[in-house]
Amino acid sequence: MTEMMMVLAQTVAGPDKGLAIGGAAIGMGLAAIGAGRGIGQIGGQACEAIARQPEAAGRIGTNMLITAAMVEGVALAAVALGFALALRI
């Protein structure tokens, strides 16, 4: 597995650039997994809470959106840093 990665990485220009881009891609994918799981859990528990108490749907929805934006901020920060590291900005 790692030998295949090394070979693939070196087919792109230069010995280090391919590894950098590959590492960034893996990192962004992991960040997407984390964000998807976290926001999915937030949405699911918000739906359960609304099912328990339908008159609080507005407040629960607001809190859900705020929390989802914060979780997404972490994941997108990982994506932005991966981008910067891959392109050596």
Binding site: L65, I66, A69, M70, E72, G73, V74, L76, A77, V79, A80, F83
Partner: protein, 369 residues
């Protein structure tokens, strides 16, 4: 015409200096930030110059509803007494970020380059799509939080009320906890109002006036309070400022196992390591929280435009013209959907930045138990 299509779509996301080789730091995104500031300077003073008692209408109604909703539902529950001190700053932060983000969603650079047939390119962009702008906003928030936190500690040292934050809870006749809820004048003042009252609540008169003749304080308590008021040590400003910095930093963390006045002093052994650990964590957090604000805003703004640029690159990477058309049709539908999501994210991120700054200022300034 071909030169239009051959450019790299990612160029819409990257900053470009407007004046070429001179002033390389003044990019198209700086121009958008200036434009947002000019819009705010044109809109708000004109609409809100005269204090108007009549029912607002039109643009004034629109902005006033947003401003009052933020003040009553977001600032006042968090900041309580200090709402009027920080509301202008927080309103400015919200509207600046919101207008910058929305200007980034309007395709100004594409329209201008279409009108001038490619001569003037990259004149518009997202001002908050550079780490410089968001880092500046985060630095403003950081300075606001810690300057006002230090100010609060220094003021309480100068008034001699350091340690009680305005509560006289230790002085009841038998040493018990006291009727804190009834004596809680500071918090009553902020929370005794109906939710739809706008404006400075001091203008309404004193809503807690009937608590001042307090039946729960007998002559012993009155004497103790007067004795305590005479014994308060007020500090000089210089000494207060010097002491405020270590005290403010020391107060970042709570004491998890602090022995109450009746318990044994051996509990300090359990308390000190946890307290030091929490202190280090909180001090690191004080730097990381504004950094997270900066990165969240920057990453959200950039990633929206990058996804759109990648979709365009996907369409144009297909070799044949038929392939481009076939791939282009669903790509356009997805582009529109992501554009709507980006509009929503623009406003939401402005709200989140302002909301978190409110919470951090409140935790630094307002008295905590």
């Amino acid at each position: 015409m071909i030169s239009f299509l051959a450019e790299d779509p990612l160029e819409h996301v990257v900053p470009h200096p407007i004046f070429g080789d001179h002033l390389t730091w003044f990019t198209n995104q700086s121009l958008m930030a200036l434009l947002a500031a000019v819009i705010m300077l044109l809109v708000f003073p004109r609409l809100f110059r005269r204090p108007d008692g009549s029912a607002p209408s039109g643009a004034r109604n629109f902005f006033e509803s947003i401003l009052e909703y933020l003040r009553i539902e977001v600032f006042r529950p968090a900041l309580k007494e200090n709402t009027d001190r920080f509301a202008p700053f927080l309103w400015t932060v919200f509207f600046f970020i919101a207008i910058c983000n929305l200007l980034g969603c309007v395709p100004i650079s594409d329209l201008v380059s279409l009108i001038t047939w490619g001569h003037v390119q990259h004149i518009g962009g997202t001002a908050t799509g550079t780490i410089s702008t968001t880092a500046t906003l985060a630095i403003c928030a950081f300075v606001m939080i810690h300057f006002h936190g230090l100010n609060a500690v220094a003021q309480s040292l100068m008034d001699g009320t350091y340690g009680q934050q305005g509560h006289h809870t230790e002085h009841t006749s038998n040493g018990g906890p006291g009727h804190e809820a009834a004596h809680d004048l500071e918090h009553m003042r902020a929370e005794a109002l109906p939710a739809d009252v706008g404006g400075d609540f001091r203008a309404l008169g004193d809503p807690v006036a009937h608590y001042k003749d307090d039946r729960y304080m007998g002559p012993h308590e009155q004497a103790a309070m007067e004795f305590y008021d005479k014994e308060r040590q007020k500090m000089s400003p210089g000494k207060a400022i010097l002491l405020a910095v270590p005290l403010y930093l020391w107060n970042f963390a709570p004491h998890p196992f602090r022995p109450q006045p009746g318990e044994s002093n051996a509990k300090w052994f359990m308390d000190v390591p946890f307290f030091l650990f929490l202190l280090v964590l909180e001090l690191v957090g004080a730097v990381i929280k504004p950094f997270a604000l900066c990165m969240r805003l920057f990453a959200n703004m950039v990633s929206g435009h990058v996804v759109l640029a990648v979709l365009i690159m996907l369409t144009f990477s297909v070799p044949s013209l038929l392939g481009k058309v076939l791939v282009g049709a669903p790509v356009i539908a997805m582009y529109v959907a992501i554009y709507f999501l980006e509009l929503f994210v623009a406003l939401l991120q402005a709200y989140i930045f302002m909301f978190l700054t409110t919470l951090f200022i409140a935790s630094a300034v307002a008295p905590e138990h």
